[in-house]
Amino acid sequence: MSALQLPLGSFGGAIEFIFSEQTSNVTGGAKVGGLEQAVELALKQLEVTALALAVALVLALPLGLYLGHKGKGELVLVGLANAGRALPELALIALVAALIGIGLVPVTLALAVLGIPPIISNAYVGVRQVDPAAVEAARGMGMGELAIIRKVELPLAISTVMGGIRGATIAILATATIAPLAGVETLGDYIINASIYGDDGRLAGAILVALLALSLEGLLALLQRRLTSDGLKVKTV
């Protein structure tokens, strides 16, 4: 019974931290915690995630679709996808902080780098899996190559493409959690600078980051389903 009480007590303290401002247990008695601060940090995390995702989309999506359409570059993209998975975000943030600089712009670029591999490889795979007959039919109707990508291949590949965007978003959001190391204060600040916020704050940060990630993932899953036309809705495994 008492072994369970300890974790439950900690969670109670963390919940309290989220909602009410408290006096920091660091000198000076400055106020930390509270809903306002939590929302501010959460918005900052979403902001940098959105910016990085936008950059990654602009760089990766058109290229991935085009390469899929042409059927070129599979080897490189597979290698890129694997390399992307093997890239440790902590090293990326540390190198950016030391060599490029700290602040929103360097961090956004670093995060965008993480988002590119899933987007580009999923776009490629998605387009490759489009029924060639549909593409032939469109070509027969006189559609230009660009139009084929936009009006035929993309809609048919949207489920896979969205899968890549989901993966990219979650990877970016997760790394945004350690962005405070490079001067961008996100929810991860509660965790990384726990000396200011205390153990309650640190647990609160973990809870909030987890909730943020799950909510975002849920929204994107819904979006993926809405965008996939009914005819294509395969029972996903």
Binding site: L6, N82, A86, P88, L90, A98, L99, I192
Partner: protein, 247 residues
């Protein structure tokens, strides 16, 4: 509280202890913007030995545990399709929660140290292994299963002698992705006192020392490559009747 001023003679360092340092005589590693210091790297490479072993330990144990659990639940859910969506969702939740947050969610229960890191890392691998196992099993042609049933195989025999062997490429592909991802994420274990190569990236002033970060990064990527290739080879070894699929 004893007054301890009557000890042996106070230590005085030798005269050659001190070094003259000026801006122009600073070695490579003292300058903040230097991307890579080869001399320092050469002399200090042994610093990376223990962290590398710790890192390997974290990865191998986490993936083995993750595989054992995910494989088991996949087998359990194989013929119970009503279980599959909730299991997929549950493993998905564990995957989506950023690892560093996961560490600190576990902290009140499991404390600091590599055990907490291992639990979180194993949880992260569940979805990919579970999903790939299910995918592999689902891709077995019905006709093959029927043929086996026709030959008198029981459900259990079909699973172990027909379905699983045919599902090996997918399963091993999932295992491969799981290992490579875990090698990267295990760098975060430093935040929860779990050791690993993250200590050479974040701990003790390394955050601003690119040389150390680059070396740690190189080791991580090398490790990932070795496991990636090893598993590709294993995949081919286990399925001689088909070329290994590129995941």
């Amino acid at each position: 509280m004893s007054s301890s001023l009557l000890l042996a003679a106070a230590g005085e360092v030798g005269g050659d202890f001190f070094k003259e340092r000026t801006s122009d005589t600073l070695p490579c590693q003292a300058k903040p913007n230097e991307p890579f210091c080869f001399d320092w790297a050469r002399e200090n490479i042994d610093r990376f030995g223990t962290p590398t072993v710790q890192h390997l330990e974290l990865v191998v144990i986490s993936v083995l545990i993750g595989f054992a659990i995910a494989f088991a639940i996949a087998l359990f859910a194989h013929r119970r399709s009503w279980l599959q969506p909730p299991l997929l969702a549950a493993t998905g939740v564990l995957y989506t929660i950023p690892s560093i947050a996961f560490f600190f969610l576990l902290l009140p229960v499991t404390g600091i140290g590599k055990d907490t890191a291992i639990i979180a890392l194993a949880a992260y691998t569940l979805q990919i292994i579970y999903r790939n196992t299910m995918l592999g099993l689902a891709n077995v042609p019905a006709s093959t299963k029927d043929a086996a049933r026709g030959m008198g195989y029981t459900d259990r025999q079909i699973l172990w002698r027909v379905e699983l062997p045919l599902a090996i490429p997918e399963i091993v592909a999932g295992l491969r992705v799981a290992i490579v991802s875990t090698i990267a994420i295990a760098t975060l274990a430093v935040f929860i006192g779990g050791g690993g190569l993250g200590t050479q990236i974040y701990g003790g002033g390394n955050l601003t020392f690119p040389t150390s970060v680059f070396i740690a990064l190189a080791i991580v990527l090398l490790m990932a490559m070795v496991f990636h290739v090893a598993l590709l080879v294993a995949q081919r070894f286990l399925t001689p009747w088909r070329k290994a699929r590129v995941a």
